[in-house]
């Protein structure tokens, strides 16, 4: 019988057996950064041998590996995935993701998972509720959207600057309707609620612009952790490809998005790579329009990073010329709290 046990990866012996078992199945990334994210690991032993395992990190299934020797194909796999999803259900988590190799995608689909994106390196699937269809159904649309020129921008806007505003204006000029998706992951100096409300306030006068929360599907911590953490080039490549594919195959067709606007990226390595991957993956169906970044009076590119540094250095007045009025108002009103967050260790050098 397939009896499930919990594996304690802090026990070095258990960890080594677990790691060797997965290595034999061609799973090889055991960097501390990845393993530390795991909340729970389950396994099945047979004759004192580990024959199946799977882990959870938040609402994402990880390190699922199964040996089918001597048993019905899929039975151990179903048992282990079932145990993992039931654990999440008991904790009232009903929306579940998995990143896996292309060859395992079908096995997950047999258990009700839906493929959201696929690259040569891997696939990204989800199950449960609310899924991507629920997310898409809630996005407002204009009449006759199918015949209109629709564009999209994805931004973290940490905080919303004149540079962002310029990018939105350019897109609004060239389109009938523009979706501005704001990154929903709350790992930035300005909280998601703050960032979203500043984008809304800063674009309120543009009638053909709609500001939407990007949820788990656009540059989120789920699909694109490298945006928030220091990462290797391979990780960035893998994650940005899947992120671009989710946009291309799920979001853009539903909303008839034909153009994606991005700012040129002179500074951040991750964002630069992301822009390159977007161009490669989205064309020809979706045109990636790269807009030269706006420069300030002193001929420097306007970046949110600079704004955050000025907050840290308490040079608030220098921010006024870099951001729209609502953002400036917010920063002056909440200066103390923002400085406090920086002192508490909030990283302000990322994206």
């Amino acid at each position: 019988m397939n009896e499930i046990v919990e594996l304690n990866l802090h026990d070095s012996k258990v960890r080594l057996r677990w790691q060797n078992f997965l290595k034999s199945l061609d799973i090889s990334n055991f960097s501390d950064k990845e393993v530390e994210k795991i909340d729970k690991t389950l396994g099945i032993y047979e004759d004192n041998q580990l024959v199946a395992t799977g882990s959870l990190a938040g609402n994402t299934l990880k390190y699922v590996g199964v040996c089918n020797k001597g048993v019905t194909q899929g039975s151990r796999f179903n048992t282990i995935v079932n145990a993992l999803v039931n654990y999440l259900f008991q904790n009232k988590i009903f929306h579940i993701f998995v990143f896996t190799k292309v060859k395992y995608s079908t096995s997950f689909q047999h258990l009700g998972f839906h493929e959201l994106a696929r690259s040569s390196e891997g696939t990204f699937l989800e199950t449960g509720t609310p899924g991507i269809q629920d997310f898409l159904a809630e996005i407002p649309q204009i009449s006759n959207q199918g015949q209109k020129r629709i564009s999209a921008i994805v931004m973290n806007a940490n905080p919303f600057t004149n540079g962002h505003r310029y990018l939105v204006e350019q897109a609004a000029c060239e389109s009938d309707y523009v979706y501005v998706f704001v990154v929903s992951t709350d790992l930035s100096l300005f909280t998601t609620v703050e960032r979203t409300s500043l984008v809304k306030a800063g674009t309120g006068d543009l009638e053909n612009v709609s500001v939407i929360n990007g949820n788990d599907y656009l540059v989120s911590y789920t699909t694109f952790p490298a945006y928030f953490l220091k990462s290797t080039d391979e990780e960035i490549e893998y994650q940005t490809t899947l992120d671009a594919q989710v946009f291309k195959t799920q979001i853009a067709p539903f909303l008839n998005i034909k153009k994606r606007f991005v700012g040129t990226e002179p500074l951040s390595k991750t964002t630069k790579k992301y822009n390159e991957v977007l161009k490669r993956e989205l064309s020809p169906e979706i045109q990636v329009v790269e807009i030269e970044r706006l420069k300030s009076k002193s001929q420097n590119f306007i970046t949110a990073t600079e704004v955050r540094h000025l907050i840290q250095e308490n040079r608030i007045t220098a921010i006024e010329s870099l951001v729209p009025a609502p953002t400036y108002q917010f920063i002056t009103d909440n200066q103390e709290q923002l400085s406090h967050r920086i002192q508490e260790g909030m990283n302000i050098n990322g994206n």
Binding site: V81, N82, N86
Partner: protein, 97 residues
């Protein structure tokens, strides 16, 4: 009766069915994954909707992952998930059985 929360019953093991019920906008929206969908898809859908109607549910979103469950199992799992979603597990609906 109104669905109060998302709820699940059942497993992904062979001969079972996993049913997830959440709030729906109108009528029953059923998404079924089954290896025998071609042969029994309509029957499975019918058992689920009939059972939910008996529980007094008029609209819901249902996701079902079938692993070859018999009708009695489908019914039992639907009742369990349904009552959990309605928040009425303390008052079992014996008549529905």
């Amino acid at each position: 009766m109104e669905i109060k929360q998302t709820a699940v019953a059942g497993t992904l093991e062979s001969s079972d069915i996993q049913i997830m019920i959440s709030k729906g906008t109108n009528d029953f929206e059923i998404e079924l994954e089954s290896d025998v969908k071609k042969q029994f898809g309509d029957q499975i859908t019918k058992v689920i909707t009939d059972t939910l109607k008996q529980l007094g549910v008029t609209s819901a979103k249902i996701k079902a992952v079938d692993k070859g469950a018999l009708d009695c199992v489908i019914k039992a799992r639907t009742i369990a998930a349904g009552q959990r979603a309605l928040g009425t597990t303390d008052k079992p609906e014996w008549e529905v059985l």
